[in-house]
Amino acid sequence: MIELAGVTKRFGAKVAVDDLSLRVERGEILGLLGPNGAGKTTTMRIITGYLPPTAGTVRVADVPVPQNPVAVKKAIGYLPETPPLYAELTVREQLAFVAEIKGLPRAERSRDVARAMEETVTLDVADRLVGNLSRGYRQRVGLAQALLGDPQVLILDEPTVGLDPRQIIEIRELIRDLAGERTVILSSHILPEVSQLCQRVAIINRGHLVAQDTPENLARALGRAQRLEAEIKGRPEEIRAALEKVPGVAEVSVGEEVPGRAAGAAASGPGEEDAAQAISAVTLGLAPGADPFRVREDMFFALAAAGLPLLALSAEQLSLEEVFMQLVVEEPAAN
């Protein structure tokens, strides 16, 4: 649906976007993630035709952007970082104006404006001046005008920036609802937002594409320091002995008894029985490059062979924040 090939944008000596290639399939929600000044806004402006790339090609719905800007502009609904609104217009007038410059036929305009207001829950402010609206509502009106003309592609630049936490949640839900069949690119420097909303994340730093994948895969691929958490019933030294033999396990630490979980601890007295019945919280550090799925399987069979029941097992994944920090911090070092 959207295809960038070798896109470079220079402003004088400054390279804002450097040889960026990216594909977004129809119906996909792609998150552009990166610190401030990474080139997210520039990339989006290039896609919308607001800025020409210095080099490289951009195609939206198989139409090259520079050759047919009007057709491309019709296919795109764009919400810049600050919603472009005229303070002296009411919400309805603002949307009617945008519907008109988007070239909607006269008969469809008011219907489309009403639909966009309904979708973005702005009907109750329809007759208020845009200049008097709160930031959250301005953002909604910005979204509403991006939706006019029912574009196939939505480009949203930092749609939740500057909003209060409740508004952020509302706008996120709104975006999720609106996405539907549409292809969406949204940028953010807030990681949980991207991992919640997007099927795929492209991380940009200093104009370079650093990584792109699903949020889970990104965390997994970089899962160098992955850990497994388990609850195992049995004597701590037996647990340790059994687990240390599992290939791929670098470190075993048998922690405290899981409080209140020692089966029958209250009923039986202290002694041998009790230690065998205790449940320990175990943390396993995996060796670098170990396949976490393979390790989990081997671990299960090792414990079963030793007669130690595995009661719970969870893989603690690196949060997207940690992945992001690794990528962004490591990249200058790699240069």
């Binding site: 035709g49 800025l51 502009k73 600050t82 472009p84 005229y86 303070a87 002296e88 410059i101 988007k102």
Partner: protein
């Protein structure tokens, strides 16, 4: 283009700037009209228009300074330039809106010939041709002002630049006596106010129409190129 025009006109009608400028225009105009009329006791508008041609030189760039600069400043340029409208459509719509405000100010000044007609017997020919010339002159000022606005996101800079260009188009005429015939004729021709003189005398000469028309087209074309450059240039 129609949508741009309507919204722009609305912005003018909702902003104090347009009212203040029209008030200054009408206030100074009324002063010139009454003082000249009372001192000369001649039912004619020649003196009025000669003075107002200079006043308009300052009013017009202040009227047009927001046309593009404000869009840049408030980020709405991004909306217009990512919408399926042509640059020429944007420029034409905005220019026409400013022209309408200017024509409204001129409309108010129609009171003066009305007063002359009621109490005297003015020669209508020069008055009508002066009005025609004044509209052309103002339309030229507005085109220059728009061009200045397309250069910058600062309204103040746009206003100052516009006034500067217009003053240059006035004083270039002063050179003609120093330069003598030949080059002098060229600078004489270039001066916006020299071209206006014939209209005051009641002469309608097509060279003046061509002069103003080509200035308007040139500056609007340059404005379109300027907006285009923002998109395509580096």
């Amino acid at each position: 283009m129609l949508a741009i025009f309507k919204r722009e006109l609305r912005s003018y009608l909702f902003s104090p700037l347009a009212y203040v400028l029209v008030a200054v225009f009408v206030g100074l105009g009324s002063y010139f009209f009454s003082v000249i009329l009372l001192s000369t006791r001649v039912a004619d508008l020649g003196g009025y228009f000669a003075n107002m041609a200079l006043v308009a030189m300052f009013i017009a760039p202040l009227l047009t300074m927001r046309l593009w600069s404000e869009e840049e400043q408030k980020g709405t340029a991004e909306l217009l330039l990512t919408s399926p409208v042509t640059m020429a459509g944007i420029v034409a719509g905005k220019y026409l809106a400013a022209l309408v405000v200017y024509l409204l100010a001129i409309g108010i000044s129609l009171l003066y010939p009305l007063i002359l007609g009621l109490y005297g017997e003015p020669d209508w020919g020069p008055i009508i041709s002066a009005y025609l010339g004044f509209i052309l002159l103002g339309a030229t000022y507005l085109a220059v002002g728009f061009f200045a606005s397309s250069l910058t996101s600062s309204q103040v800079l746009a206003g100052v630049t516009g006034i500067g260009i217009l003053l240059l188009f006035w004083i270039v005429g002063w050179l003609s006596s120093a330069l003598g015939p030949g080059v002098g004729q060229v600078t004489d021709y270039l001066s916006v106010l020299n071209q206006f003189d014939d209209f005051l005398k009641g002469i309608l000469n097509s060279t003046h129409l061509v002069y103003y028309g080509s200035l308007i087209v040139t500056f609007l074309f340059l404005s379109v190129q300027n907006l285009q450059r923002r998109i395509w240039g580096d």
